[in-house]
């Protein structure tokens, strides 16, 4: 009996790791180092009007989401309908960071598909994207009224993810 005990324990341990790895979900999703930290400061021209700037300080005082998007991003198109619904419901202010994109194309995208954003910052060279640790659009950050990042989601949003990951964190005051 004892002969098989240790190999058995080793195999079970490996299986546990395997199952944990499989259940982990999107293997590309990394824990954001910003959770629980102040949202990175930025000040960028808005997409629609280069003379007006938008920045982190405009978002203070409310829960807000910051959605990183681009016209070249296929998943952004997939989540766009949900963002429009969310904006229409008035549940939360939505700010955009238009990441590494062309201004005319981005403006046309919003004209054609609708514009869920209070404002979109225009991050042409990806400098602010780096400050926010963005590595794959769409990414959505939940920022609390104090300007602390509460949650980050990689990939397209949908109603299920919104309820499970975002709404729950807003009700509990963001502690998680």
């Amino acid at each position: 009996m004892n002969r098989y005990l240790w190999p058995l324990i080793a195999v079970v341990a490996l299986l546990v790791f395997l199952v944990m790895g499989l259940r982990h979900g999107d293997p590309r999703a990394l824990p954001s180092p910003f959770i629980g930290k102040p949202a990175p400061q930025f000040e960028l021209p808005t997409l629609k009007n280069p003379d007006v700037t938008i920045g982190t300080q405009h978002m203070a005082g409310n829960y807000a989401i910051v959605n990183v998007w681009a016209t070249w991003c296929v998943m952004c198109r997939q989540e766009h309908g949900f963002l429009l619904d969310l904006a229409a419901s008035g549940a939360i202010p939505i700010y955009g960071i238009n990441w590494r994109d062309s201004r005319p194309e981005a403006i046309r995208w919003l004209q054609e598909l609708g514009d869920p954003y209070l404002a979109s910052a225009y991050d042409a060279d990806g400098r602010v994207g780096i400050d926010w640790g963005v590595y794959g659009a769409p990414e959505t950050f939940l920022v609390d009224p104090d300007g602390t990042v509460v949650y980050k989601h990689l990939g397209p949003l949908d109603p299920v993810i919104w309820q499970r990951e975002f709404v729950s964190r807003m009700n509990t005051g963001g502690a998680d």
Binding site: R3, L30, P33, R100, G126, R127, G129, I130, W132, Y135
Partner: protein
């Protein structure tokens, strides 16, 4: 067969056509060497399992540009690693630093080897103690 070969060669040529910006960033060979060393040790987050030196996705290009800028500004390697870790986490570095969180990554291999040596020693010791010709244990 010949057609397949031609196709393969064409595919190979096409793959190298989309090459990465390998232009020299620095005139000083020392700085250039430091730059190349640094970018070979930063993971491309968009295309994981490539370094930003080997990747031509946009984010890798952005990060190469930022690293070149920081070297120009006279930042140390440590500063540059911090810059990346603050934004992307330890995962961005191919050689994670020895901190509390990553300690297990550094120690686990040695622990596993020790464990193996220990197990091997026990098995060998046990076998030696068996009388010669008695293979009842191995046939189990």
């Amino acid at each position: 067969m010949k057609r397949i070969f031609v196709l393969l060669v064409a595919a190979f040529l096409m793959s190298s056509a989309g090459a990465i910006d390998t232009d020299k960033r620095f005139d000083d060979p020392k700085l250039q060497a430091r730059y190349e060393q640094l970018i070979s040790e930063v993971r491309c987050l968009q295309c994981q399992n490539q370094s930003i030196k080997d990747s031509n996705v946009s984010l890798a290009a952005d990060l190469r540009r930022e690293i070149a800028r920081m070297i120009e500004e006279g930042k140390s390697d440590e500063d540059i690693a911090d810059f990346l870790v603050v934004r992307y986490g330890e995962f961005a570095l191919y050689r994670p630093r020895t901190t509390g969180k990553t300690l297990v990554l550094w120690i686990a291999p040695f622990l596993l080897v020790l464990l193996g040596v220990f197990a091997l020693a026990r098995v060998v010791k046990h076998r030696i103690s068996l009388p010669i010709g008695d293979d009842s244990e191995t046939k189990g």
